[in-house]
């Protein structure tokens, strides 16, 4: 008789059970040092299996990575807080708009705001992100006009993509944001190709690839890591581990891997694992990794450890597969609350000012939303010309597309 049995990874808790994150080890803030910029894969093992954290449970910034950031003035931290509040307000308003039928689809990044907001503020003009659909926080922190962002969601005449793409599949070249594909993983190897182009052309720019924990299972994750390992281009490879791939528990993508970060070590790429709900850890590690890439030390992988508080998308109901209150039990807390606590502790912020800022930002976002909705929504459509379907399939329309456009009546 065979003793071979298959493994089918299961989450620690299902909807009828209490949330259970007891298996997640949360190291003390400040425990890990700042490695030299030429860190190699072997020496990065403690960083790939541990977790870089700066903010402790009381909201103090502690340890070598806090020192690495130096004497921060309040300004960049307050800007980071406002970025996250703006992100949260946009998500809230757009989710609401979808519920009202004004757009066909939306997808929030609740709980993950610190990662994109912090990383983007450390990039320079000309650097290019290759994002997934849950990195709208990069656009917010790149000061991308909300009119364009919302216009895309409503597919109206403010949409820079003229209705061609599913809502949330933004493209914003001038804001360092590559065109999003719904086919997961493809962008990761493209980021490596873009970074190779930066090195070959000597532009001094870098690329940043983004992928979720679920899509690390895709073949292009391997393609990207192998290519980055072979050619050593200036690329930062980000893995946002938010624990869930729609309904699939992260263990199904991870298998027996120790961490997602540790996967890079087999490719000879150094990797760091970071508390993704800690805005200070995000900006510190982003700065270190981006500088390292720009200074010619090659690729680096960062696993941002976080939790997807929201549903996967407006087409998803997470209560069908995980405990309703799982987010509340998440051991790394909420990124907005943690930065707020830190700023209050520093004497640079207060509960009152926070409430006031939340209200002001929500007002600002709502005002833009109303103005954008005046250009048309799914409820009150002002359609873009159907002839747009044919524009840009090629640089010049070939005869068969001209014939088809005429057949359509344009």
């Amino acid at each position: 008789m065979s003793t071979a049995r298959l493994s089918f990874p299961r989450p620690p808790a299902r909807p009828d059970q209490a949330p259970d994150f007891s298996a997640i080890v949360v190291p003390q803030a400040g425990a890990l040092p700042v490695p030299p910029p030429d860190l190699d894969a072997g020496a990065s093992r403690p960083f790939a299996t541990g977790m870089i954290r700066v903010l402790d449970d009381d909201g103090r910034a502690v340890g070598p990575w806090a020192e690495y950031l130096g004497d921060l003035s309040a300004e960049p931290l307050l800007r980071g807080l406002r970025d996250m509040l703006r992100m949260r307000a946009v998500d809230r308003r757009m989710l609401n708009a979808q519920r009202q039928g004004k757009t066909s689809f939306y997808l929030q990044c609740t709980g993950e705001e610190a990662i994109g907001c912090g990383f983007q503020r450390e990039l320079s003009p000309g650097d290019m992100n290759f994002p997934t659909y849950r990195q709208q926080s990069l656009l917010i922190a790149a000061d991308y006009p909300l009119e364009a962002l919302m216009g895309q969601l409503y597919s109206n005449d403010l949409d820079p993509l003229q209705g061609r793409q599913l809502p949330i599949m933004h493209s914003a070249r001038d804001h360092g944001f590559f065109s999003i594909s719904g086919n997961l993983g493809t962008q990761y190897v493209q980021a490596v190709g873009w970074a190779m182009g930066c090195a070959l052309r000597g532009t001094g720019e870098i690329a940043a690839g983004w992928i979720g924990d679920g899509a690390t299972a895709s073949n292009d994750f391997h393609s990207a890591l192998l290519s980055a390992s072979v050619y050593l281009p200036p690329v930062v490879l980000n893995v946002v581990n938010n624990q869930w791939a729609i309904s699939t528990y992260t263990g199904v993508a991870a298998g027996q891997s120790e961490t997602y970060a540790a996967r890079a070590l087999g490719y000879g790429i150094p990797a760091l694992r970071v508390d993704g709900n800690d805005y200070l850890a995000v900006i510190a590690v982003s700065r270190w990794a981006i500088e390292r890439a720009r200074n010619g030390h090659g690729p680096v992988l960062i696993e941002w450890f976080t939790y997807r508080v929201a549903a996967h998308s407006t087409s998803d109901d997470p209560t069908a597969y995980r405990p309703r209150d799982e987010a509340k039990a998440w051991p790394l807390g909420d990124p907005v609350d943690r930065l707020k606590t830190h700023l209050i502790l520093r004497g640079d912020w207060s509960e009152d000012r926070h409430r006031q800022a939340e209200a002001e930002i929500l007002d600002e976002v709502t005002t833009v939303q109303k103005a954008v909705e005046a250009h048309g929504t799914f409820v009150d459509p002002q359609p873009i010309s159907p002839a747009e379907i044919f524009r840009g399939v090629y640089a010049e329309p070939p005869p068969h597309l001209r014939r088809q456009r005429q057949e359509m009546g344009f």
Binding site: M128, F130, P160, L161, Q162, R164, Q165, M169, S171, A172, R173, F178, S179, S181, N183, T186, V189, Q190, A191, V192, G193, W194, A195, M196, G197, C198, L200, R201, A207, N219, D220, H222, S223, A224, L226, S227, V230, G392, V393, Y394, A395, P398, P399, H400
Partner: protein
């Protein structure tokens, strides 16, 4: 010049004249490719312009998409068209749509070269003709030359094109034209008009077919190796065939095709690829729509059989001059 030398010359001309052109793929660097198409290019233009990649087709094309989006002009090689499938996602969902989906913010001026077709005893993984899997994709251009002259002119045009181009190289005629008789003596390109290739820069525009042989009896639509096999078949059958070498399958030169079929009233389509949903089906649909009232006989196809490409039975699979001749005589009956 052989077709291999012509392709090499095209890449050499573009590497020398345009710093954004870059070439990579499996074995293409130091060694110069398993078919030698890139031989000497690394030595001449440097490792940053011509280099080897891991055996990872989705990376070859995925990296090229990232570079092309930035404004470079990668011309990458897939070692055999049979190996392209790991890159199919990157080609069809990414390269083909980048211009459209980003509303022109990002474009993809990229060439993907790959040896195609049979006739070299390659069995089922070195003989396939996957052109229809690319002509079905909006945003791609699909090119296949039948002579060294056209190979060079079309490849330069493809590298200069602002959109992604699938460049299929009929490997059976890399070194000489092939007339369908595998037991016969091989003929070098040196003895063929199509082997006369200009030095330096010249272009054969994409989207233009070529009348390979003028005739009045029946139109034959072919591309790649089959242009020459059809020529031999028509001669053997004594049919006054007008043979059209399509050269570009997407976008298709429908004007040249319909002018010929309206003149002859008869048409045979020949390709190596499997029959069902093959590119011949598209050609026949277009012809019946444009030429129905000129037709004097049913349109016929001579293609590979709907079976995996065989090894030992290759010459029972490959469309032979005899099969093509039978079709020419059949379609010629009143």
């Amino acid at each position: 010049m052989t077709m291999i030398e012509a392709l090499r010359s095209a890449m050499d001309v573009k590497l020398a004249s345009d710093p954004s052109v870059i070439i990579f793929g499996e074995d293409v660097g130091y060694f110069g490719g398993v078919f030698r198409c890139t031989a000497g290019l690394q030595a001449r233009h440097g490792e940053e312009r011509v280099f080897d990649t891991p055996i990872n087709e989705s990376a070859i094309v995925g990296l090229a998409v990232g570079m092309a989006a930035q404004g470079m002009r990668p011309c990458v090689e897939i070692q055999f068209a049979d190996y392209v499938f790991p890159a199919y996602d990157q080609i069809t969902q990414e390269a083909a749509r980048l211009r459209h989906r980003s509303n022109g913010q990002f474009t993809c001026p990229l060439v993907i070269r790959m040896p195609t077709g049979g006739g070299i005893f390659g069995g089922q993984t070195h003989s396939q003709s996957p052109e229809a899997l690319f002509t079905h994709v909006a945003g791609l251009k699909v090119v296949i030359p039948a002579t060294p002259h056209d190979a060079k002119g079309l490849l330069i045009a493809a590298i200069e094109d602002p959109d992604p181009v699938i460049f299929l190289e009929p490997k059976r005629i890399y070194n000489g034209p092939f007339y369908g008789d595998h037991s016969g003596k091989s003929v070098p390109w040196a003895s063929h008009d199509g082997g006369e290739v200009p030095e330096g820069h010249f272009v054969v525009p994409l989207g233009q077919a070529r009348v390979h042989r003028e005739g009045a009896g029946v139109t034959v639509l072919a591309y790649g190796t089959m242009v020459h096999v059809a020529e031999a078949a028509a001669a053997a059958a004594g049919v006054d065939a007008e043979i059209i070498d399509l050269r570009t399958l997407l976008p298709l030169d429908l004007e040249t095709i319909t002018a010929s079929v309206q003149k002859t009233g008869r048409c045979v389509v020949v390709h190596e690829a499997t029959r069902t949903s093959g590119f011949g089906a598209e050609l026949i649909a277009e012809i019946q729509e444009a030429c129905f009232w000129h037709l004097r006989a049913p349109l016929l196809r001579v293609t590979g059989w709907d079976a995996p490409y065989p090894h030992a039975q290759e010459w029972d699979y490959f469309p032979s001059p005899a099969r093509i001749a039978r079709a020419l005589l059949e379609v010629g009956k009143d």
